[in-house]
């Protein structure tokens, strides 16, 4: 790995972050992906596009989200001073809306008349359905049949918002299969349809575009921390499935070597059981869904099923920029198990009166290990990227409570 003088310069003009990323898609899609790249490039330099997005983020999504000092948790863990970036307070209940508003605005600008999306936990699906309602665009959300069953409240939300939810039964019937099916739809409808990808993965320009839209999280955090403490944070922690909330928080800080950055993958039942979703910890580089990145796979390259209590982390890959940051050594990647996340979930409810989504409960599980080892003047920011309303039924079942 050659030494770089910035960690924020990627991707290159071919969409590569080192060996990762790229555009591994069917030729049918390729010309349209190039068109998307051009359209996004023009839009992001256009002040009127940025103004419109900023207006929506402020008045529709409710940004900026607060940076909240979690005093009771800090006291309980006895170490680092813990702040939450409260992206769970956004409209629709997670960070997903940041990206979706940007992409749907772009879809409008490109004259597309239909939007499709994939979803795992349903948060990205709900956010996309919301933006499509706002912009009066028909919306189809592909969702693994397994996830449809375990995220029933979000399925109903999407339907209320006017979206069509298509359960996907192929393969393992989870997020990766939903993405396959969305790509299959897109190949057949590409001239009229905008594919709104929910994470920092897929063919270039998606990883960079989604990161840019999510970087509002890190940019706000930086300003808010300067306001609160007069300096940058020391430690950042975020959960990672595809990795969009993490990339959004991390990216503005990558070139500050004093900021320690930790991404937390889902270890499911434990890395050594093989039943997990930790592609960086337990996978190796491969090509899927339009990009090269770390994947869970067998020796032949067949993709293996991911396992996590959290539908939003249940994906056998990860955004290519994370793969690059791992190999560059800039970001530490660790993992938390289902049980650890459940414990963290309950702790946060009782201690701070916040019901987190199971996804950031993984980040919190790592904070519970890390914070006590750090000095009290260590400023730690965890991205609380989603709220847990959608998860209460699954958690109840897991805890053996009948509702």
């Amino acid at each position: 790995m050659k030494v770089v003088n910035t960690y924020r310069g990627g991707p290159d003009e071919r969409g590569h972050f080192g060996i990762f990323g790229g555009r591994y898609v069917a030729e049918t899609l390729m010309p349209l992906i190039l068109e998307l790249e051009r359209a996004y490039d023009t839009a992001r330099k256009d002040q009127s596009f940025r103004d419109e997005l900023d207006r929506l983020l402020a008045h529709y999504a409710g940004r900026p989200s607060p940076l909240y000092h979690a005093e009771r948790l800090t006291q309980h863990l006895g170490g680092a001073k813990i702040y939450f970036k409260r992206d769970e307070l956004n409209h629709t209940g997670s960070h997903k809306i940041n990206n979706v508003l940007g992409q749907v605005l772009l879809a409008k600008r490109m004259g597309k008349t239909r939007v499709i999306a994939e979803t795992g936990a349903g948060q990205h699906g709900v956010a996309t359905a919301t933006a499509c309602a706002l912009f009066n665009l028909p919306c189809v959300v592909f969702m693994g049949a397994v996830d449809v069953a375990r995220q029933a409240p979000n399925v109903f939300r999407m339907k209320l918002l006017g979206a069509e939810v298509r359960p996907v039964t192929s393969g393992s019937a989870t997020l990766k299969d939903a993405m396959n099916e969305a790509l299959r739809d897109w190949v057949a409808t590409v001239e009229t349809t905008f594919y709104c990808i929910g994470t920092v993965a897929g063919p270039h320009p998606y990883p960079a575009m989604v990161r840019d839209f999510q970087s509002v999280i890190g940019n706000e955090t930086r300003a808010q921390m300067m306001e609160a403490e007069g300096r940058l944070p020391d430690t950042l922690v975020a959960c990672i499935g595809g990795g969009s909330n993490a990339m959004g928080l991390f990216h503005p800080f990558l070139d500050h070597p004093g900021v320690r950055i930790v991404g937390v993958e889902a270890a499911g039942k434990g890395i050594d059981t093989g039943e997990h979703a930790a592609s960086l910890t337990g996978g190796r580089p491969g090509v899927l869904h339009g990009n090269r990145t770390y994947l869970l796979q067998d020796a032949d390259g067949q993709i293996t099923e991911a396992h996590s209590i959290s539908a939003g982390l249940d994906y056998p890959g990860i955004g290519p920029e994370h793969a690059w940051l791992k190999e560059a050594g800039r970001v530490e990647y660790v993992a938390a198990t289902d049980d650890e996340a459940l414990e963290a979930f309950q702790l946060l409810c009782k201690l701070e009166g916040i019901i987190p989504a199971l996804e950031p409960a993984h980040a919190l599980a790592h904070v519970m290990k890390l914070a006590p080892t750090l000095p009290t003047d260590n400023l730690l920011v965890m991205n609380l990227c989603g709220r847990g309303d959608k998860d209460v039924f699954a958690v109840a079942e897991r805890l053996g409570v009948k509702l």
């Binding site: 071919r14 555009r23 030729e27 049918t28 299959r184 057949a188 090509v287 796979q297 032949d300 390259g301």
Partner: protein, 275 residues
């Protein structure tokens, strides 16, 4: 001359188009799959596309997805796929081109150089990699060329004349024109649309042109043959494999003959057109 070039030269001499038959390696199980493979030349397949089953075939419709799932469930691996081609060359046929079709991760995991060497050694003639557009083809092309494998790139209705030179830079053997916007085995293009696109491609390349996606009947195969150098049929063939299974997924006695006799009707359709 490569087997692919020799085959297209012979088709030109016979003044007809060729039939490219797609079957998934290992479908419905490795033994029967090998029986089908062995029977393809006699059934009238001029070229063979041997699909490499993949867990996540993004460009394939339900038929080819199901075929791949059957094969993976029955234990197909890359080693066994190469072994089938090796036995096919040793026992059955030295002349009919065999191309492996599939997704890049299968190649990348084996190591591109090793994959190309293993494929060529087994008797494979070319690769058709669905998710490797010219933007990424430079990581495969040198190794394929070194091993003597053709790289057949795809063009689509969305591929404009500006993009074609980039595709032609990496293409060899023939050009595969995907005749519809969509995945395999779904809708079909009109004959006019095929004629127009093939004519456009011919102004840019002298490589033979095969047309695929959505060709399901002998009549459609004949219509495409009036314009293209070859017609590719896949989903309709693997559907015949499914027809040959009982309700519990066990092969019935007439599975292999059923698949091969269907291919014979497609070959008759292709051969009904004189050029």
């Amino acid at each position: 001359m490569s087997r692919i070039a020799a085959r297209f030269a012979r088709l030109a001499a016979e003044k007809r188009a060729g039939l490219v038959a797609y079957v998934s390696a290992g479908d419905p199980d490795p033994d029967l799959s090998f029986e089908i493979l062995k029977g393809l030349p006699a059934a009238g397949a001029d070229l063979i596309e041997f699909g490499m089953p993949f867990t996540d075939p993004m460009a394939d419709g339900p038929s080819v997805q199901a075929a791949g799932q059957r094969a993976l469930k029955a234990g197909i691996t890359m080693d066994r796929t190469f072994d089938m081609v090796r036995r096919f060359r040793a026992e059955t046929d030295q002349e009919t081109p065999v191309l492996l079709m599939g997704y890049y991760n299968m190649i990348y995991q084996r190591g591109v150089e090793r994959f190309c060497r293993d494929a060529a050694t087994a008797g494979v003639d070319g690769l058709i990699i669905v998710d490797l557009p010219p933007e990424e083809a430079d990581e495969l092309k040198p190794h394929a060329s070194k091993a003597g494998l053709d790289t057949v790139l795809l063009t689509a209705p969305t591929t404009d004349n500006k993009r074609l030179p980039a595709i032609l830079k990496y293409a060899s053997g023939f050009i595969y024109f995907v005749s519809i916007l969509g995945i395999t085995g779904t809708r079909s293009a009109t004959e006019d649309a095929v004629a127009n696109h093939v004519a456009r491609l011919r102004t840019q390349t002298r490589l033979p042109i095969a047309v695929g996606f959505g060709i399901k009947t002998p009549e459609q195969a004949a219509a495409v043959s009036r314009h293209a150098d070859a017609a590719v049929v896949g989903s309709a063939i693997v559907d015949r494999v499914k027809v040959g299974l009982d309700k519990d997924g066990r092969p019935k006695a007439d599975l292999v003959p059923g698949v091969l006799s269907f291919i014979r009707t497609l070959a008759d359709g292709v051969r009904s057109v004189r050029k």
